[in-house]
Symmetry: none
Subunit: 159 residues, 2 copies
DNA sequence: AATATTCTTGACATATTTTGACCTTCATGC
DNA sequence: GCATGAAGGTCAAAATATGTCAAGAATATT
């Protein structure tokens, strides 16, 4: 069973494909009408599915002639990719957040499945060492794991 | 006598076979119902049997329309390669020996440049953490680093 | 026989989706 | 200017999934 959120996500992605554009403009109310849902559902879809981590930027304007603009981000140069990494690997990530990030990066083809698997094996091993040898609390382990991911992704960004 | 965990493991594997797919999607509660067990038993099976080290990636999402997705990344004919790994990652390696091994694997096209870079960045970071946080002597760090390489290569041998 | 490891269970914690009531912003006509 | 109506935004509750953790039971190892 596909959720409403997934349907709307696919619809928006199909609009982007169809226009073979990196950008589309929507009316929130109209889109909500298409799916027979409440307008704020659209906000939820945007906030959960069209995030920078997934490679999108969303702009909007209220008031008369208001709109929602969805932009697919293209990472062209090394500089762009490094900044992007800094943006999406922000603060300290829990293992769950880390796994989700890796999944998203694979979906965007910024990581291969092998690279993702390697990283998961390594993160598990490092975590195991930190807990069983050094009895480190979860928060400290998350700090180290996050920094590891940050460094790896940065190093890959420049290749 | 087969344990519940083993039964569930076989059942999931059979689902993957049956669909001849590299991926299945489950509902934790439903699967628990099939075996008349507690839902968290499913987590135990996933954590102990469907690890990246064994060639699986597990993704999941909580909440409404939640799911558990199991991705198989393993192929057949693994035995030889595993033995080979045991041979080449023998004993404890120094950082120099490790780098030479990784370079060699890249030249033989068993690792890509990106994968080798990932590993080198990770090994350097782990070593740094072990020194600066825990003041571990060199031979202990080499043990950990060697084990890390062994695990990663084993999991890659499966893929 | 004693100890260590793995398995099983259940109480409790956390995350996601959907909906609706209420808030904020802005272009436009007067 | 400024009131108005037409946008989009925020927040919280309810429903519904999965995750975590620890204790006890079952098995394996020494």
């Amino acid at each position: 069973m596909e959720s409403l959120t997934e349907k709307i996500e696919k619809y928006i992605r199909s609009l982007l494909e169809a226009n073979s554009a990196d950008e589309i403009i929507l009316r929130r109310k109209e889109l909500a009408n298409v799916f027979g849902c409440v307008p704020s559902q659209i906000n939820y879809v945007l906030q959960s599915r069209f995030t920078p981590e997934r490679g999108f930027i969303v702009e909007s304007q209220r008031g008369g002639n208001g709109y929602i603009r969805i932009i697919r981000v293209c990472l062209s140069g090394v500089e762009d990719r490094l900044n992007h990494i800094e943006e999406i690997v922000d603060g300290v990530m829990t293992p769950q957040e880390t796994r989700r990030l890796l999944k998203n990066l694979e979906e965007r083809e910024l990581l291969t499945l092998r690279e993702r698997t390697m990283l998961e094996v390594i993160l598990r091993f490092v975590d195991e060492v930190l807990v069983s040898f050094f009895d480190l609390p979860a928060y400290r382990r998350d700090e180290i794991n996050t920094e590891l991911v940050r460094r790896v992704l940065k190093s890959l960004a420049i290749i």
